[in-house]
Amino acid sequence: MGAGLNKISSYDITSGDSSITITGLTSQYEVYFMQLNNIKAVSNANLYMRVTQSGVADDSAIYDYSYNQAFDNSSTITDTGFQGNTVFYLGQNLGSNVTHPFNCSLYLFNFSTDSEYSLITQYATFVNNADRNVSMIGGGQYKGNSIDDGVYFYLSSGNFDAGQINLYGLRKS
């Protein structure tokens, strides 16, 4: 029995990228794992994600998700939920300072089957534009009866500046 987590691809962000598409999700794996490392926006922005079919992002209003968000300088944890949105919401107010990273682990489930919704879980921890440590823990469902082959990232405004996205597959056996 070999290793259980196999790296599939790595994408190095180039400053000025307006969006990033990561494809390569197939039925070879039932569960995929993705790490977003040190993502930085050129200016303060929110990070969104969509599901792709044949490499094309779907902007239909069929994304449901919820998350809780906490800050290092507050004991209040806020819960947020959306139904029928056009994106998954991964990060709020990404920092633009060179030392402010956005880091996130995503699990992607059921993407390669059209008989179940594609599902995600998200664990993000980052330093935001106000120089606060932030946590976003959440999950979502994409209510499309489609075979999905990847994900598409973009920002609420401006471009990406730096970072790396690694895609892994979890072996079935």
Partner: protein
Amino acid sequence: MAGSLILLNYTDTTSVSAVSFPTIFEDNQEYENFLVIGAFDSDSNYTGARIRLMNTSGAFVPNNRWNTHFLKSGTAESVSANSNYTNGIVYVTQNTIERNQGGAFRFTIYNPYANRETTIEMQSSGSNGENLVTTGFGGSYSGQSYAGFYLQASLSANAFRSKVKIYGFKS
């Protein structure tokens, strides 16, 4: 196809008050991110687990930022949340994990080096009859870097036994 999650360290200890990994990040700089998975139990009575992040001199780093959120199955709601730890102590679990019931935890540590701020997210689950769940996150600021960390009993008089695995993500 090569494996992408590489086991860097495994410890199995009993009757100790702390388990130290002082240079685990410094010695493995080819990995950008780390996964720490472990379980522990109190040797006697009860305790919890906490970590302290260490700098390259082997001293703990006092001013990292943390928010740790405690949940209990008996109340099904959050019972407290703490922020902005400045004493370098981060509680991994609640203090009352009972002997022969145990606790388990998972950390992801991103970029514990000086070129960017480090961020960490954590979840744990344990028992003292009811289930005690802790979620946390945090990291560095002002360019602090971490060389390693140590895991210790939150009640030092009550030693614990633990098994800890540390993995590096191949980038």
